[in-house]
């Protein structure tokens, strides 16, 4: 078990600790995944560096046409935030379906992304939104689209022994854009997703301009239904095009037979329905 627990009050201090400890220290935010990973020996840090008291990464704000979510923001804060509900509704819905109320009160959106499970609810929504992670280390800061943060199942490109994701930047939804999140699970709470689908659409004059459709777990990371997205570009908004797009989602989906997530057959059958429902809801919201 870890032997020390530090609570720095700035990103600079946190990075300094990581650098000094040369790999023996690790970032912790909410800790609801990390503590279990330490228990199962997936990770073995000597020192935990808690970033949740750093003022500069708490909070949700806007900067021009972007919504900025700090690394300290919990799922519940995101779900209830008027800014998130107005400008990135799919993220509010996704965060709202994580775990349980108690988990959502401590677990963070950024932690959900860094933990890199393929169907992490908020990550699926963030990929649909085209969000970017800002990653700081002692000598540099880089920005990487959330979609490109994956290095295999459960593996992230973020090295929590020497860097910190400080913020997530989301292009705010504009008029004519709508989003939706649909989830298939055995229970309404305390249940891993059998399927998550997140959709962001932009429409004009009763046609789809573009759509981002993200589904999971149907591969090692959140997967774009690119054939569906292609079909919708410039297409008329009606039941036929939506149905065709929903069916095309299967082209890029490869769910496994899983005792935890459900059979491949069942999930392929229901994936179409989830995509259809998400598209319909997103369109209705875009029209409002």
């Amino acid at each position: 078990m870890y032997i020390d627990y530090l609570t720095p009050e700035s990103v600079t201090d946190a990075l300094q600790i990581l650098q000094q400890q040369k790999g023996k220290a690790r970032i912790i935010a909410g800790g609801t995944d990390l503590l279990l990973d330490i228990e199962s020996k997936k990770h073995n840090p000597e020192i935990l560096v808690d970033i949740t008291r750093i003022p500069e990464i708490k909070g949700i704000r806007t900067e021009g046409n972007f919504l900025i979510i700090g690394a300290g923001v919990t799922h519940n804060e995101a779900a209830k935030s008027p800014l998130v509900n107005e400008k990135a509704q799919v993220l509010a819905e996704a965060s709202r379906s994580v775990g349980s109320l108690q988990i959502r009160n401590t677990a963070t959106v950024v932690g959900n992304v860094v933990n890199a499970q393929p169907a992490a609810d908020s990550a699926v929504a963030l990929v649909a939104l085209g969000a970017t992670a800002v990653i700081a280390s002692s000598d540099s800061t880089r920005e990487v689209p959330v979609e490109e943060l994956y290095a295999g199942v459960g593996k992230t490109k973020v090295n929590s022994n020497n860097e910190i994701v400080t913020n997530i930047i989301i292009p705010a939804l504009q008029p004519g854009e709508g989003s939706a999140f649909t989830r298939l699970a055995q229970r309404k709470a305390l249940a891993l997703p059998m399927l998550n689908v997140a959709v962001v659409v932009s429409i004009a004059e009763d046609k789809f301009q573009q759509a981002r459709i993200v589904m999971a777990p149907v591969g090692p990371q959140p997967v774009r239904a690119s054939d569906s997205e292609e079909l919708l570009k410039g297409a008329a908004i009606n039941e036929e095009t939506i149905q065709k797009a929903a069916e095309a989602a299967l082209n890029h989906a490869n769910p496994r037979n899983s005792t935890l997530r459900g059979s491949a057959e069942y999930r392929c059958a229901t994936l179409k329905v989830l995509v259809k429902r998400a598209l319909e809801t997103a369109v209705a919201r875009a029209r409002n």
Partner: protein
Amino acid sequence: MNKKNVKFTLNGKPVTLTVSPSATLLDIIRDELKLTGTKKGCGKGECGACTVIMDGIAVNSCLVPIMKVAGCHVETIEGIGNKEKPHPVQEAFMDLGAIQCGFCTPGMIMSSKALLDKTPDPNREQIREAISGNICRCTGYVKIEAAVQAAADKVKEENSK
């Protein structure tokens, strides 16, 4: 073994402890402070039996590293009422038969209290969401939901007097 000091408020009283940093809040509450009302059901954040209120919000104490609690206000089931003067939620649980084996009960009550402290007049959906992280193997939840509603009604009635 590396030990550190941690100071927080527990059930309204200041507490200073010397702890192993890798202990969880649940470990400390039960083993150090001998407050065994809070239960360890799974140790993984999947049952809610360990629910306490930290700075006004319900959390799974089995997943809170003790050092995270520094400077916080923690409420456990022992602190919200007693036999002579039970909390309205405790009373409602007893009156409405919302308890069978009792193991989920402290966590259920803390989740319910956290709700009512912030949302004194919850609707059914809000009550259900508030206890959605607390598993009960005995009751089927119906009487628990009714008890939370009854507690809310009672507090509302008292406040309007």
